[in-house]
Every structure is written in structure tokens, then in C-alpha cells.
């Protein structure tokens, strides 16, 4: 197995709001190996994007604050030390792309300049060299007529093209990790296919690790090796992609998989639907946050949050009393 590149231990991020302290990310842990594509899956408000921003300490402070845990990147804790040290990791060893390509590029600056910035900073290139490299990257990423278009402004590009530009920017410094936060959610499905194909091929040839954040289980199935399912700020289930889809354990994962319509369904049997709606993070019920919507809820679920229970080979684990060996567990 490849070496561990990133290790997140018991990360907690909170937001101080007028409704009280919201635990957006509550005690999550995962590891990312070299060349691995890790999926963080969940619905809106589950904390997946906050996790992503926490990794590089990009949480707006205030109102946000990382209140605990460790983020070990190549053995070094990114949460220790001042921001200046993390800053050099950003865009260099760990790069990011975001959900909305229409707003993620600075509308007033030329494309080439925005890519060159990172090169000048992390690779110490001169301005001219960086601009030339930027055009080269654009070409590599599939922008037709790249040299001329490098001098265009973002508004002259379509959504799909802008996401390509974002990717070119992200991979410009050959990062170890690419964090992609819902990179295709704002795009049409045929463009989504183009972008996913591009990310897949990049992770393949550069042995770059990818953290893919998405709400779309279909996207995850096609691109990820490992998956963490998040609910209400917690990782409720972790598994390799095959295990997760073949044998989901957590009732939430099961419910989610059964509730998405599939194009290959053939027979049109009724979709399952999870009752209720995701909880308000500012007023979580005691115990397991999924309990009010869970059809397997037991008495203990209302009292205590289940611990992370490892099952079978790593990374398989689940946070559910159905599998916890302790009090009230079934197995």
C-alpha cells in the first residue's frame, strides 16, 4: 500500500453564530494515501465543504474557528504554527478547485496572469516564464487555441472552460493533493463528464491524490477509491468504493443509495425515501444525529453518539450502534 500523505485526526471546526455555536465539523478523522482518490459525500450542510476549507485553514475567522484535532500533511501538523507556514502549502503541495467556476476566477485579471501567480510564488519562476508555462498548461488541459486564449478574461470563457482553467491553475505546481469541492455541480452533465475525465486522467498520470467533495453518489462511484459519508458534521461511514456500494452499513448510506433514481434501473420500482429532513446543526438532538430519520433507531441512539467501529479491512468503519460492540450493539 502507498504511503500516507495526509492524516486528519479528530478535526473539529465550529462557527459562532447568533443562534449559538454550530459544530460544522465534529470530530472527523480520515487518511489519504499517495495516488488515492477519496470521496467526501453528503448533503448540503453536512460539513463536507467546511472540512475542505479547514484542511488549508481557509475558514473565515471569525465567525469560524478550528477548535481541535490535527491535520498531518507528510507528518507535519498544519494546524500548528502560524498561518504563513500553511500559506506556502496552499496552491503548492495542496491545491483546490471549487464548485462555481463562474465566480471562482477574478473577473478583472487575465487568465494567464491568474495561473502564473501560483507559479511565480511556488516555483520561483520569472513573470515571462510563468506566463509561457500558463499557456502551456492551458493547452495541456484541453483549451483550444490556448496561446491566444491565455490573454482572455474569465467572462470570455464558458463554465466548462473556466473549470478547466481552475484545474490548470491547481495542477500548475504539481501538487501532491488536489481538493475538488463539488467541481461539476454547476455544470451540465455532458460538461461534467469532460471535467471528471480530465481529473481522472490527471490523477492517473501524475500520481496525484484527490479529495473529491460531492453530493452525487454517481460521480463518486466513477472516480473514487475510498469514500467517507458525512452526516451532520460527522463521518458516519468509511469504506472502499466497492464495499460501500455493494454493502452499505449505515442506515443513512443505505437510505441514500436507495433513494437516488438510476438511469440503468430498468424495472421502475418505487424509490425509497428517508423521512424528514437533515437536522439544523445549531440544535442537534442528543445522541446520533440521524436517529429522528432512522428506521432502525434504538433506545441508546437517543442518548449517546455511537463510536467509530472498525469492521473488516481498513478503511471500513461505521458510526452506528447497530455495529458497535459495546452497550446495545447487535453484533
Amino acid at each position: 500500500m502507498e504511503e500516507i500523505l495526509l492524516e486528519v485526526n479528530n478535526l473539529r471546526t465550529v462557527f459562532d453564530t447568533e443562534y449559538g455555536t454550530v459544530k460544522a465539523v465534529d470530530d472527523i478523522s480520515f487518511t489519504l494515501r499517495k495516488g488515492e482518490v477519496l470521496g467526501l459525500v453528503g448533503e448540503s450542510g453536512c460539513g463536507k465543504s467546511v472540512t475542505n476549507l479547514s484542511l488549508l485553514r481557509l475558514i473565515p475567522e471569525p465567525p469560524g474557528r478550528i477548535s481541535g484535532g490535527r491535520i498531518l500533511f507528510k507528518g507535519k501538523d498544519l494546524l500548528v504554527g502560524d498561518e504563513e507556514e500553511v500559506r506556502l502549502v496552499r496552491g503548492g503541495s495542496i491545491a483546490m478547485i471549487f464548485q462555481d467556476p463562474m465566480t471562482s476566477l477574478n473577473p478583472l485579471l487575465k487568465i494567464s496572469l491568474q495561473i502564473a501567480e501560483a507559479l511565480q510564488l511556488h516555483r520561483g519562476m520569472g513573470r515571462k516564464e510563468a506566463l509561457a508555462k500558463a499557456a502551456e498548461l492551458l493547452k495541456a488541459i484541453g483549451i483550444p487555441d490556448a496561446e491566444a486564449r491565455a490573454n482572455d478574461y474569465p467572462h470570455q470563457f464558458s463554465g466548462g472552460m473556466r473549470q478547466r482553467v481552475m484545474i490548470a491553475m491547481a495542477i500548475s505546481c504539481n501538487p501532491d493533493i488536489l481538493i475538488a469541492d463539488e467541481p461539476t455541480t454547476a455544470l451540465d452533465v455532458t460538461i461534467q463528464a469532460q471535467i471528471l475525465e480530465l481529473i481522472k486522467s490527471l490523477s492517473g498520470e501524475n500520481t496525484m491524490s484527490v479529495i473529491m467533495i460531492t453530493h452525487d453518489l454517481g460521480v463518486v462511484a466513477g472516480i473514487c477509491d475510498t469514500i467517507c459519508v458525512m452526516y451532520a458534521g460527522k463521518i458516519v461511514e468509511k469504506a472502499s468504493v466497492d464495499d460501500l456500494f455493494a454493502q452499505p452499513l449505515h442506515p443513512y448510506t443505505k437510505g441514500l443509495l436507495d433513494s437516488i433514481p438510476r438511469i440503468d434501473a430498468g424495472s421502475r420500482k418505487r424509490l425509497y425515501s428517508i423521512p424528514g429532513s437533515p437536522p439544523n446543526l445549531a440544535s442537534l438532538p442528543p445522541g446520533c444525529p440521524f436517529r429522528p430519520r432512522c428506521d432502525k433507531a434504538m433506545e441508546i441512539c437517543g442518548r449517546e453518539m455511537p463510536p467509530e467501529t472498525s469492521l473488516g479491512d481498513a478503511p471500513r468503519s461505521v458510526r452506528c450502534w447497530l455495529y458497535a460492540s459495546g452497550e446495545g450493539g447487535l453484533e
Partner: protein, 317 residues
């Protein structure tokens, strides 16, 4: 079979003028949002209209709902051409086709309570005398509608911001049901919702369809959702129809190259299957609908394109 026809759209075109100029606005071209669309919907059927953004599916829906004036073409509802109706007749006809919208936030007036939102169509028609319901009956009906869509009738006194997205969409559905329409035009009704809420709403609409024998025109960009909900699917591309097929056969046997590409682009939540699939990756972006064009609208991105595609527009077979 002829009796079963509820909606018949014939060569519908919606062109928007593109205007330029600050003082004197002059037309510099047309944006052909919908450019010659014909299809029909039978009673009790659920027909899906799919396509990517800018393909004209929503404009088509708005034109059918008489909220957008068509440039040409006919919309026959129960055999009557809606464009030829007098305002009074159109007002009467509206009762029979109602809308469900995409955005659960902007589709409900923030200053009106849920119960009044649902009762609004009833009150409007009752006041003009086209339905005879007293205020007490309207309230009773509102309560039963709320119950039907899965909301507590006691929520009638709440304002929209006190509901979750899924609940708001339920309010929207109850409002559409209030006048007991024959056709419901649902414009991306689940795209703004979370995955776990999507299936709740889809199932609710399915149950309602069975219960009331409703006809659905369902607009969405998500093929899997449309395939689940509808029995027939219309695929649109750049203001025109690329393919119409029964949803049971579409996945197995798509004909149009665009449908093929579209289907192959939809990810399937099944890792072993995904690994084996061969994707058709389309080149480039959808061209602008403001551009003048001849021939097949898909030809620039089509891997099968040949000479004739550039010169003449294929007709629907």
C-alpha cells in the same frame, strides 16, 4: 386514442429579440430559445422534457403555461388553441393546467402564510364566481390539501421561511393541486433539493398522479430523475427536439447521437458498472442559441456528422 390527447404542441417557436443600443434600441438578432417544437401529451401520462441548460425546455414549459408568448406555433389544450382564446376563456382554461416551480424559495411569497398561499387559486376563482366555494369550504379544502402533501394543517399559519426546502416544495405542490387541474407542468421540481428530499418529492408526485389521474409535463436536466418519473421522454437540444422515446427503451436503445452522449455522461452509482462503461465525451460546449444556423443543431459536436447534416435540418421521425 384521439380522445386521449390532452396537450398538443405544434411547431412552437419562442424567439427573443436581441437588442443593442443605449438611446435607441434596435434589434440585432434573435435568440431562438425554442425553435420548432412539436409533441403531444396524452391524458394520464407523465412526459419528461430533458436537456442541458439553454436547450429551451423551461421556455417551452412557460409557453405552454401561457406565461410566455410564443412567436409562432400552436398549443392545443383539449383541442382548443390557447392563443386564440379570449382573456375570459383563457382564465377559465388556466384552472386545468397548473405549475410547480424549481426554486422552493422564490416560488413562495415570503409575506403570505402557507395556508393562504395554497388557498390563493381557490379564492381567486371563487371571487370571480367560476367555482362555488365559501370561505369555510376553502379552508377545509386547504387543510385536506396540506394533509395530502404531508404537511400538518396546523402549519397553515406559518410563513414560508419557517419551512425547510422540501416542505416548501410540498406547499407549492398543494397550491398546484388546489384547482384540481388536469395537467401539471413541473419545472425542475426537485433539482434544488437535497438527495434525500428529492425522492420524497418524486414519490409524493407519483402518488398524487395515480390518485388524481393527473397528467404531468415534467421538466428536468437530470435524466435519471426523468426516467424514473416519466413514461415518455423528450430530449431537447438547442431549442429543438432531438429524440422522443419511451423511457423503458431509451436507456437500452438511444437513437440520436446526442441522446447517446447524454446517457453515457450520466454517472451510475455502481462502481463495477462505471468502470466498464464506455463514455462518449462530447467535444466543446453547446453553441449559443443566438447564432444563425442551418442544418442539424448538433452537428458541430456530433461524431457521426456528415455532409447533409450541415445543410438540412433533420425532421422528427
Amino acid at each position: 386514442m384521439k380522445d386521449d390527447l390532452l396537450l398538443d404542441v405544434r411547431d412552437l417557436k419562442v424567439h427573443f429579440p436581441i437588442e443593442k443600443g443605449i438611446l435607441v434600441r434596435r434589434r440585432v438578432g434573435w435568440l431562438k430559445a425554442v425553435d420548432g417544437v412539436s409533441f403531444s401529451v396524452n391524458r394520464g401520462e407523465a412526459v419528461g422534457l430533458v436537456g442541458e441548460s439553454g436547450c429551451g425546455k423551461s421556455t417551452t414549459a412557460m409557453a405552454i403555461a401561457q406565461l410566455q408568448k410564443p412567436s409562432s406555433g400552436q398549443i392545443l389544450f383539449e383541442g382548443k388553441d390557447l392563443a386564440s382564446l379570449s382573456p375570459k376563456e383563457l382564465y377559465e382554461a388556466r384552472k386545468d393546467f397548473q405549475l410547480v416551480f424549481q426554486d422552493p424559495y422564490s416560488s413562495l411569497n415570503p409575506r403570505i402564510m402557507a395556508g393562504d398561499i395554497i388557498a390563493e387559486p381557490l379564492r381567486i376563482y371563487a371571487r370571480r364566481g367560476s367555482i362555488t366555494l365559501g370561505e369555510a369550504e376553502i379552508r377545509a379544502k386547504t387543510a385536506s390539501l396540506m394533509e395530502r402533501v404531508g404537511l400538518l394543517p396546523s402549519f397553515a399559519q406559518r410563513y414560508p421561511h419557517e419551512f425547510s426546502g422540501g416542505q416548501r416544495q410540498r406547499i407549492g405542490i398543494a397550491r398546484a393541486l388546489a384547482l384540481e387541474p388536469k395537467l401539471i407542468i413541473a419545472d425542475e421540481p426537485v433539482s434544488a433539493l437535497d438527495v434525500s428530499i428529492q425522492s420524497q418529492i418524486l414519490n409524493l408526485m407519483k402518488d398524487i398522479q395515480d390518485e388524481f389521474g393527473l397528467t404531468f409535463l415534467f421538466i428536468a436536466h437530470n435524466l435519471a430523475v426523468v426516467e424514473y418519473f416519466c413514461s415518455r421522454i423528450i430530449v431537447m437540444y438547442l431549442g429543438t427536439i432531438a429524440e422522443i422515446a419511451d423511457s423503458s427503451v431509451m436507456y437500452e436503445n438511444p437513437l440520436h447521437p446526442y441522446t447517446k452522449a447524454l446517457l453515457s455522461a450520466v454517472p451510475i452509482p455502481d462502481p463495477p458498472k462505471e468502470r466498464l462503461r464506455k463514455r462518449i465525451i462530447l467535444k466543446g460546449d453547446v453553441p449559443s442559441p443566438a447564432k444563425e444556423r442551418t442544418g442539424c443543431p448538433f452537428r458541430e459536436r456530433c461524431s457521426y456528422a456528415f455532409e447533409r447534416c450541415a445543410t438540412s435540418r433533420p425532421t422528427l421521425i
